[in-house]
């Protein structure tokens, strides 16, 4: 017997156009991220020091004396490097997610919709890429491609698309059997129209939520590469290389390594709060 299904709210699309209901989690995350982005954008207004200029006569100074967080081993202002480092890491982190999102999402959409050999091959490739640890593969790829920001983008894209392909494919498999998708097929609309207007808006939310935590992952990757000396080339300030340089002075100037790490943690927290807030708002656990 078919039972009546009550009006359970299943509208879960990103664009389900209910007024963007804020919740505390989402608001806190957006505020935190906003503050970080503002600090990065307005870095020149927040500090008068040049993050790159060296002054070996003033190396490893304690906080104070005009240097809010002291100076590093080359006499560069640590606070300035922290702010300008946010520019590097936030920008590279967000951009490094964009390409995997687009490429993986598109592949997942087509695989979920078409099924068949395309889906089969794509999912096998996903299995394989997933089997190789993220950091190992990214580091190996950056090594092969040569260091530099462009290599980081390429490496993260080559590894990161699989998660989006998987998520979007899974959502499409469910969505395409939903009656609105059947209705769209029945009405004889062209395939691209069904994919882009009917399926995509309804499956993109999960990928979007994931991209928040994925930005965290890609920032971690960039910082890790910086720590290992494979990241954004010197002397561009970056939190990872700051931690690496600070590690040598952990006995005497512990904050040199601690503070840039805290900056990463706070960035991660902001993005995690935003992701959680979105999940909460769309009524999914």
């Amino acid at each position: 017997m078919t039972t009546a299904v009550g009006p359970v709210a299943r509208g879960r699309g990103l664009a389900a156009r209910r007024p963007l209901r804020m919740n505390a989690t989402l608001a806190a995350g957006l505020a935190l991220l906003g503050a970080l982005v503002l600090a990065a954008v307005f870095a020149p207004l927040l500090t008068s020091w040049d993050p790159i200029e060296q002054d070996l006569s003033r190396s490893l100074q304690d906080p104070g004396n005009g240097h809010l967080l002291g100076t590093d081993q080359l006499g560069r202002d640590v606070f300035a490097r922290l702010l300008y480092g946010a520019r590097t890491d936030l920008r590279v982190g967000a951009l490094a997610v964009l390409f995997p999102f687009l490429i993986g999402g598109a592949l997942g959409l087509v695989a979920g919709w078409r099924g068949g050999w395309f889906d089969l091959v794509l999912m096998r490739v996903v299995d394989i890429v997933v089997a190789i640890p993220f950091f190992v593969l990214v580091i190996a790829l950056v090594f092969a491609l040569g260091s530099g920001t462009r290599s980081i983008y390429i490496a993260i894209t080559l590894v990161g698309w699989v998660a989006y392909a998987r998520i979007v494919r899974g959502e499409v498999l469910v969505a395409k059997e939903q009656e609105y998708a059947l209705a769209a097929r029945a009405s004889g609309l062209p395939t691209y129209r069904i994919l882009l207007r009917h399926l995509l808006p309804n499956v993109v939310l999960q990928a979007f939520v994931f991209s928040m935590s994925d930005i965290v992952l890609s920032i971690l990757a960039i910082v890790t590469l910086g720590y290992l000396g494979l990241g954004v080339p010197q002397p561009t300030p970056d939190w990872g290389s700051m931690i690496q340089e600070g590690q040598a002075f952990i006995f005497t100037k512990w904050y040199l390594a601690a503070v840039p790490g805290l900056a990463v943690v706070i960035t991660g927290l902001a993005l995690a709060l935003i992701a959680d807030g979105f999940v909460h708002r769309s009524g999914r656990r």
């Binding site: 096998r124 490739v125 299995d127 394989i128 890429v129 997933v130 089997a131 190789i132 640890p133 993220f134 950091f135 190992v136 593969l137 580091i139 190996a140 790829l141 090594f143 092969a144 491609l145 040569g146 935590s213 965290v216 920032i219 971690l220 910082v223 890790t224 720590y227 290992l228 000396g229 494979l230 990872g240 931690i243 590690q247 952990i250 006995f251 512990w254 390594a257 601690a258 840039p260 790490g261 990463v264 943690v265 706070i266 960035t267 991660g268 927290l269 993005l271 995690a272 709060l273 959680d276 656990r285």
Partner: protein, 313 residues
């Protein structure tokens, strides 16, 4: 018997994955821009060194022939030759593998010891202040760079409290044990947020299920229910969650080994990157991937053995 058949089927299923991994590792050298041999060795390389590298990778042959050679050598356990150390890569890797395995195993154990009690506690007192605190752990923890956590642990335990060595691997088992504590704790802390999040959710699903309600109706105490009904489920979910996150676990050992100068395959890979020792980088990448596939297989088998509901067919 059915279990044996399942083991066999799972084994067969890993073959295409291993095959794909070999392809990726093989093609790595072809991602190197320009003439790989020249680029890898840098501008100061002698013509002789370049020629030797080209020959050892067979870069002058057609692609399919290179791959067949590569696979042929793999079949004999030949992972290529390190031109920096001038020994077989397999020899280097097998010398460094114990430290990494120690790290993986002890980190897994520590991660479970930390996260299972916390997850059970949070799930059994859902909504309490304690639950709120435990739920906040993943939010903060997921954004912590593992190497940074390692440095902070060095700061607190190694330098201020002087409890554990902060680098190296010791000389005997006791030394290994003492040396592995901080690195293992670092990796465990990287894994804990993920474990807590998934375990808490699955524990809540268990506590909401009908058989727990039945147990409650039978008059069993809360404590009794947690102990007898949920721990086996906790074990099953832990194994599953671990299985899903093996790659992440193994990946984080790479950086953590560097922080603690632990002589594992992770440091070998990083050293080889700076030595531009391509064969070793290739070999370690392959070993890492095979390790993930193997651990994944083991967790699957353990899961099937633990959970009677798993379809073996």
């Amino acid at each position: 018997m059915r279990y044996l058949a399942y083991v066999l089927r799972r084994l067969v299923a890993t073959v295409p994955v291993l095959f794909g991994i070999s392809l990726i590792v093989f093609f790595m050298i072809h991602l190197v821009p320009g003439d790989p041999a020249k680029t890898l060795l840098g501008i100061r390389a002698t013509d002789k060194a370049v020629a030797a590298l080209q020959k050892s990778f067979g870069l002058d042959k057609p692609l399919w022939e290179q791959y067949l050679d590569f696979m042929g050598r793999l079949a004999h356990g030949d992972l290529g030759r390190s031109f920096f150390y001038n020994v077989d890569a397999s020899e280097l890797v097998s010398g460094r593998l114990p430290a990494t395995l120690w790290l993986v195993v002890s980190a897994t154990v520590l991660a479970l010891l930390i996260s299972v009690p916390l997850a059970v506690l949070a799930a059994s007192r859902r909504g309490s202040a304690l639950d709120q605190v435990i739920r906040a752990v993943p939010l903060v923890g997921l954004g912590m760079p593992a190497f940074w956590v390692g440095i902070m642990l060095v700061l607190v335990f190694g330098l201020k409290l002087r409890l554990f060595p902060v680098s190296g691997f010791g000389d005997d088992v006791a030394g290994h044990l003492r040396s592995i504590v901080l690195p293992a704790l670092t990796v465990a802390l990287a894994l804990t947020p993920i474990l807590i999040r998934s375990l808490r959710t699955s524990m809540i699903a268990v506590l909401d299920s009908d058989y727990v309600v039945t147990a409650r109706a039978k008059g069993l105490t809360h404590r009794r229910i947690i102990l007898s009904h949920t721990l086996r489920n906790a074990a099953v979910s832990s194994v599953t969650v671990l299985g899903v996150n093996v790659a992440y676990l193994v990946g984080s050992t790479l950086v953590v080994e560097r922080v603690f100068a632990l002589p594992g395959i992770g440091t070998l890979m990083l050293d080889s990157i700076f030595n531009r020792d391509f064969a070793v980088v290739q070999a370690v990448t392959l070993v890492f991937a095979v390790m993930v596939v193997a651990i994944n297989l083991l967790t699957d088998l353990a899961h099937a053995a633990l959970d009677p509901r798993v379809e073996l067919s």
